[in-house]
Symmetry: C3
Subunit: 137 residues, 3 copies
């Protein structure tokens, strides 16, 4: 009996690991703020969502990547605001970077979230089986 429970438990953990590996989940790492990087990030998020509406997409911004979601700096403000209403898409800004660069939450576009540590957020997603893509051009 104990052996069955043990085996079932093990099978459960393994299936969790395998399951995590099948879905389309991707975290984009954005650390550049130029217009082209902003456009690139939005194009990729949009295309992943179009390819699979159930895909889970997260854009994490730290370092110099904050302009995409700052009200008076974003060149893709409408797209960000719009995509952020999609329950499968999220934009998360690093609070450490915000503090360093004196960006207040009130300056963020609607729907944009903050995380205490952008690098930890990305590393955690990778650990949970999400794919990782660095935004660059």
């Amino acid at each position: 009996m104990k052996k069955i429970i043990l085996s079932a438990l093990v099978l459960f953990f393994c299936s969790l690991l395998l399951k995590a590996q099948k879905d389309y989940k991707v975290v984009f790492d954005l650390t550049s703020g130029d217009s082209l990087s902003q456009q690139t990030a939005i194009r990729w998020v949009t295309e992943v969502s179009k390819a699979d509406p159930n895909a889970q997409v997260e854009v994490v911004m730290f370092g110099k990547g904050l302009p995409l979601v700052i009200k008076d700096k974003s060149v893709m403000a409408d797209a960000v605001t719009n995509l952020a209403t999609n329950k499968n898409v999220s934009f998360k800004v690093c609070a450490v970077a915000m503090a360093n660069q004196k960006v207040d939450k009130s300056q963020l576009l609607p729907g944009v979230q903050t995380v205490p540590d952008g690098i930890y957020e990305i590393v955690s997603k990778q650990h949970e089986g999400w794919g990782y893509i660095k935004v660059a051009h």
Copy 2:
């Protein structure tokens, strides 16, 4: 008896997971098209193959990364054509990027493959235990 089968099954799945983590498999993400990026990608692929002839290497191109494998744009055409004959090396272009940029299959160097979605290709490889390296300089 059932328990043995169950255990064996579990062991099999786990060993698959562990096995996937031991080989030298790497997917390069190329989204820049300048000459130096092209040269960098080819140098890294070449060096990995030299370090371990059994290493599996894949270069996925999307965004602005297509020139490396386009006949009249590549500055590394011979190297790409040559490396693509190696069964452990593959070059895969995103079909969405090709359509967006009006690149036809006939313009690709010999041996270059296409994938429906370059980002999904990369994410899938990561899920299968391949390492990921963003090409940049």
Copy 3:
């Protein structure tokens, strides 16, 4: 009895896999040598270490990323030397890149290590469950 041993073995392997996914471990991939890239790498390493003193951080340099740890080229020499004394932080340079660029071990800052193959080092860390972040700006 055999079944118990088998199950225990399986559970052990799975728990290893799960355990590897919980800690804060991150490998930074640095392939740019400009001052801003050097500063960015050091800022991120410093911030991760500050956020969690037990976090394990490794910076792997290959391609054009070597200047950060070369005595007469680094703009962050003091920070590198200082961080390298932290047992949870390491700087590892690719020996292939060193040979290609005629950099001798004697030119490296104190505490900086070498690895035979920088790409393999990064891929191995990813396989062991470390998060991966490409340094870029």
